[in-house]
Amino acid sequence: MDYIEEIQEIIEMTNAIIQRKIDPFKIDVKSLIEKLDSLFPKLKKLEELMLDAEALEHISNVLGIQTQELNYMAGKFYLSSEDIIKKLKQMNIVELSNMLSLTFHPILFTSFLNEEALFNAYEYWLSIKKRIRIEEESFALLKFKKEDLKLRERNIAEKLAKMEDYLENNTPIELNSMIDKMDRDSKVEFLYLLSYLISSGKFSIEEKGEKMMIIKGKAKESSSLIFTIKP
């Protein structure tokens, strides 16, 4: 085939695409450009050069149409969900990685040590000794609290023993008659200590009509009682 005929064939082919007679993706633009490139040294006359320019213009138009089509298809997300998954299954791992590589723009960021950060670190280092001292102080405080707690525990044990003795000699006794006379703090303390004695199974509360009686022994059924103490 004559080289002029070859150029004319390119023009006809691209023209058919421009006129939307054939699918714009049917032709390989790269091979057409390579062909034109190989033919270019043979072109001498102005008419031939004009023909070459025309072919190039048509190819660029085809590229424009291809881009337009792609944008349209992608804009509409031309493929259905099933089509995408079907294509995904057909692709191998290298094809997939290549596809991602063409769209991959990794974030640029850095984290580094500067003068300020180093100075802060130095300050922190110096402050560590101070911190240990504070911890020691708080540890001493903790010891004191533990001792205090032991003292309180001893007090509670004494009070519990006293209360147990009293109830041992006076039960059955009505609960309200005991706590009605007490002030708020004593009421809370009494009920708190009583809850210990009930939990240990030494005493229990039995309802007799409207009265709540403290009796000896474990309750038949486990239940809860709520007391509201006004401030």
């Binding site: 997300f77 995408i84 094809e95 991959f104 960021f109």
Partner: protein, 190 residues
Amino acid sequence: MSKRVEKRKATLFEKMKKAMLLLLIQRKSIPGASGYELKKNIGKKYLYVINLLDKELESYGLKVKISLPEDVKDPSNPSEEEYDRAHFYIIPREPILAYRIKGPFNIEELGSLAACIIMSMAKAGNLNIKELEEMLESKISKFKVKRYIEKFRKLGYLRISEEGIVSLGWRTRAEIDLENLSKLLVIYKP
């Protein structure tokens, strides 16, 4: 040039430098900066400064990527409030094609990540983790599947809800050109 113009130019340049440092130096778990942060540090007209910075970065092959919040009403014309909630990053203008600088990924991981992203896009927020695992098992060794998915989740490429629903993470939205990925998918022929 009058002194006033010179002063304004210098102020803008200082703001651009400040914006660039805010975007480049990681201070929290996610790099870059939010619109709120930029507004707080640069001022109300931070978008103008970001625009200038973007033009300046162009000569270095970089750009400022604005990752809009997911609930944005009109992505082509976001409101000021939506810009405030957006996240700003600096990314290369062109994709990185050399595997050597692909960060923490090898080819297999990159391919698996592509599969996860495409699958998530196809299922549009209804992708179950089991379904994704099954699909990946057809491409790579079964033992690697869970490890890869966990890696992508940790790096922020995927988001997995307590119910096991997989969706795209903040990093995918920032680093992957999803529009181009869908175009490539459309033209792919086996």
